[in-house]
Symmetry: C2
Subunit: 158 residues, 2 copies
DNA sequence: CAGTATCCTACGTGATACTG
DNA sequence: CAGTATCACGTAGGATACTG
């Protein structure tokens, strides 16, 4: 790839990929969602080289997805910002897809529950304005005001 | 990375990343969602090298995400299988995040609508069993029956 | 503990030429 | 049109040693 990011593409998906679409970033973010906070925890959990981890954390902080603070014990800690927390639908959509199409033999590896009720959350789904679940083929894309390229104007999943 | 995939990790997210977590795959899938079907269309739209595109398409077909058929004109066509269509929540979650945090100057690049009503779909959101939208911090992870590693057992976004 | 600094290797990628 | 076959390159990534 020319410059290893997709900024030049006028596409929100590509924009997102330029930030998190790289081998380690999403896994680090997942770890933070799972409650890991410290450099050594990420390193142990992921088996990632320290120089790479250092670089990735720096990048995620620079992107405003993580924030670095000093923990009680005086060690550095990384936590999700709101921008980072907003990635949860992405993580859960991917996890649900993996649950369905790349399942573990014995059942789901993780179950996500509503902290208040303890009941599992719904599967991530696309919903119409009035809340009905939509199948992929019921959705189509239209140009928005920010649409800038000469990309083919074809309906989504026609 | 040792083997460029994450199969060794007991994690549905990592499983999903091993299939689509690579620079071009998701963008190809997006193109198919947008209605592109042919090798030359992908190549032109993405500016990807032909050998790479060939390899990626082969992989996506092998994974059961795309299926290759002969179109009317005798040319090869690629279409999404149900497994591929099931990735729509992933794509839309990423797109919505990009819309919010990496916006185009003039507004949304694409708007996704319910084909029947023409009205925009809802933003992708995590929902409780009874349909309430949940904030990231209201969700926590619990071990499922397929949980197999000695990973730290920490709550999600505690 | 939480990194930084090097070195080295392998793989993803791009460019180009060729084929059925 | 839809690929395949090579080659050449850059950089992400791993390993290791070192530091505040």
């Amino acid at each position: 790839m020319k410059n290893s990011n997709f900024d030049y593409m006028n596409c929100s998906l590509a924009q997102t990929l330029s930030v998190i679409g790289e081998h380690w970033s999403l896994l680090i973010i997942r770890d933070v969602f799972m409650g890991l906070r410290r450099f050594s925890e990420f390193q142990k959990d992921l088996g990632i080289a320290k120089n790479i981890l250092s670089e990735r954390l720096k990048r995620l902080v620079a992107e405003g997805i993580l924030e670095k603070t000093k923990g009680e014990a005086g060690f550095s800690e990384y936590r999700l910002t709101e921008k980072g927390l907003a990635l949860q639908p992405v993580l859960l959509s991917m996890t649900h897809w993996g649950d369905q199409y790349k399942p573990a033999k014995k059942g789901k590896r993780l179950v996500f529950v509503d902290r208040a009720s303890g009941k599992p959350i719904q599967r991530m789904a696309v919903r119409s304005h009035d809340g009905r679940k939509l199948h992929a083929k019921e959705v189509k894309a239209k140009r928005g005001s920010g649409y800038a390229s000469e990309r083919l104007d074809v309906p989504l999943a026609e």
